[in-house]
């Protein structure tokens, strides 16, 4: 039986370099366009700290400034606590609306192993029972380790495990991507 999941990007043969990085601002616009048809009366946006929270902040004016929204910091739900301890820079999660019954658009910047999303979903359920959760990310870099995948991604961008892709912000709030190569 073939257990590989076809929609999961496989390891690329020629991994991209910093020079070939896509423009994060264009990706952001594409993400917003993909999300627009999903907005209903019961939609709420939840961004995962920190990149996802930045995205939510800028998505709100485009999708509806009055949408209920919040931020999750998943430090208390991570599965690597036993080996890595508590993240030093944890922030309070802020979910100032009733999760119960809302269709949650869960937003993150880069999708990788799926472990952060697992933690985020566990935390969300401690606030209430959502009607549904849809995962939307700016970039799906491949490499998931759990049966979790984004339903919406502005870009499929397969990377190898020694590469680290990060969303960052210029001082004026514009997004850009940074690719780091781990030194062996």
């Amino acid at each position: 039986m073939n257990l590989s999941m076809p929609e999961n990007p496989s390891q690329p043969e020629n991994p991209p370099t910093s020079q070939t990085l896509p423009d994060a601002e264009i990706l952001f616009q594409q993400l917003a366009e993909k999300l627009k048809p999903l907005i209903s009366a019961d939609t709420a946006l939840v961004g995962i700290h920190s990149g996802g929270a930045w995205l939510v902040e800028r998505l709100l004016p485009l999708l509806g400034a009055n949408l209920p929204h919040g931020i999750l910091d998943v430090s208390f739900y991570r599965d690597d606590f036993a080996s890595r301890g508590l993240h030093k820079e944890n922030r309070p999660s802020q979910i100032p609306f009733a999760v119960q019954g809302h269709h949650i658009l869960l937003i993150d910047d880069v999708f990788y192993t799926g472990r952060t999303i697992r933690a985020a979903m566990n935390e969300l359920f401690d606030y209430g029972r959502p009607a549904s959760i849809t995962l939307a990310v700016l970039v799906n870099r491949g490499g998931r380790e759990l049966p979790i995948a984004p339903q919406i991604a502005a870009l499929e961008f397969p990377l190898v495990s020694t590469q680290n892709l990060q969303l960052l912000r210029h001082e004026d709030g514009r997004f850009y991507l940074r690719l780091e190569q781990e030194v062996a």
């Binding site: 910091d73 606590f81 301890g85 508590l86 309070p92 935390e123 209430g128």
Partner: protein, 317 residues
């Protein structure tokens, strides 16, 4: 210098006293506590960080409030909690502290919260346990009560975030307080420029001004313009000695009333570690008044204790 509270990577391993905590760790505890405050306001007031761990409250001396808040904190972290009032059990039969602790370790306890009437008890246990065991001092004699000190500082920071611009007054029995000294230390570390102590000479340690505080014996003078009034608990047993004339006399001179509080900054907050002696160190009208943050202190105490336990449990061996 070898700091028994830190591991070799500089992470917090035991919490024994506020003295000796680097500023970065002090801030880490307060910032983490900030994240835990919200947990208590949710539908499910628990996070899974200490799932599968066992926290043991060993109280060689009674303190219902401290034990309860530690118990709630551990349970909100999903730990299993064991409460031992040792005064009434094995110790009475002559078992040594270490034998008590080692028996609990044999039952796979992971963390000890220790209260003892003798200074240094938690410190002693910390020195003798295996590296994967964590110890929290929940009060040892007159020496230290670090989580109380931390929750007081946390409360001040929540209401008065600009700590570089604060006047804080500690009023009352500084001599016998196990928190006053560590609070002065923590507030200084976090940049509070002016700390005053207000007390009769008999309730002040000798050379208290060496801690960097201004000393007042007149409460009216001392309260002028302060942003935070921290009342210290007056232990009734002190009344019996030669230190103080009477409770009524003390209230007249050092009890906090609305009239005296009016001398402080109009936005000043009033704190008290509890349990309060109403009508001795604090008037009921003040304790229940709009400037009192005495009950929020209790609430924040749980978040602070959760933060300490989470940080300790996450430190590597």
């Amino acid at each position: 210098m070898n700091n028994p509270q830190l591991n070799q990577d500089g992470q917090l391993k035991h919490l024994l006293s506020i003295e000796g905590l680097p500023k970065a760790i002090l801030k880490q505890i307060l910032d983490t506590a900030e994240s835990f405050v919200g947990v208590a306001e949710r539908e499910v007031k628990k996070v899974p960080l200490l799932r599968g761990k066992t926290v043991c409250n060993i109280f060689f001396e009674n303190s219902t409030r401290t034990r309860t808040t530690f118990e709630i904190a551990a349970k909100r972290l999903s730990a299993d909690v064991l409460n031992l009032n040792v005064g009434t059990s094995s110790q009475a039969k002559g078992e040594s502290i270490l034998d008590t602790v080692n028996n609990l370790i044999a039952m796979h306890a992971d963390m000890f919260v220790v209260r003892h009437s003798q200074s240094g008890a938690a410190h002693f246990i910390a020195q003798h346990v295996a590296p994967h065991i964590h110890v929290i001092n929940a009060g040892d004699g007159r020496h230290s009560h670090p989580t109380q000190g931390l929750l007081d500082v946390f409360t001040i920071r929540r209401y008065k975030p600009d700590m570089h611009n604060l006047r804080v007054a500690l009023v009352g029995d500084v001599l016998h307080s196990r928190v006053a000294r560590s609070e002065i230390h923590a507030l200084t570390t976090l940049g509070v420029p002016e700390i005053r102590v207000i007390a009769p000479k008999t309730l002040l340690p000798v050379q208290v001004e060496k801690l960097g505080v201004q000393v007042y014996h007149d409460m009216h003078e001392g309260l002028k313009g302060v942003d935070v009034v921290m009342m210290l608990r007056l232990q009734n047993e002190r009344m019996n000695g030669a230190l103080l004339p009477s409770a009524q006399e003390y209230f007249k001179t050092y009890g906090l009333t609305q009239e005296k509080l009016a001398l402080a900054h109009p936005d000043a907050i009033v704190m008290h570690p509890g349990p309060m002696n109403r009508g001795v160190e604090i008037d009921s009208a003040v304790a229940d008044g709009s400037q009192s943050v005495i009950l929020p202190q209790v609430t924040y105490g749980i978040a602070v204790r959760m933060a300490v336990m989470a940080i300790l449990a996450g430190s590597t061996i």
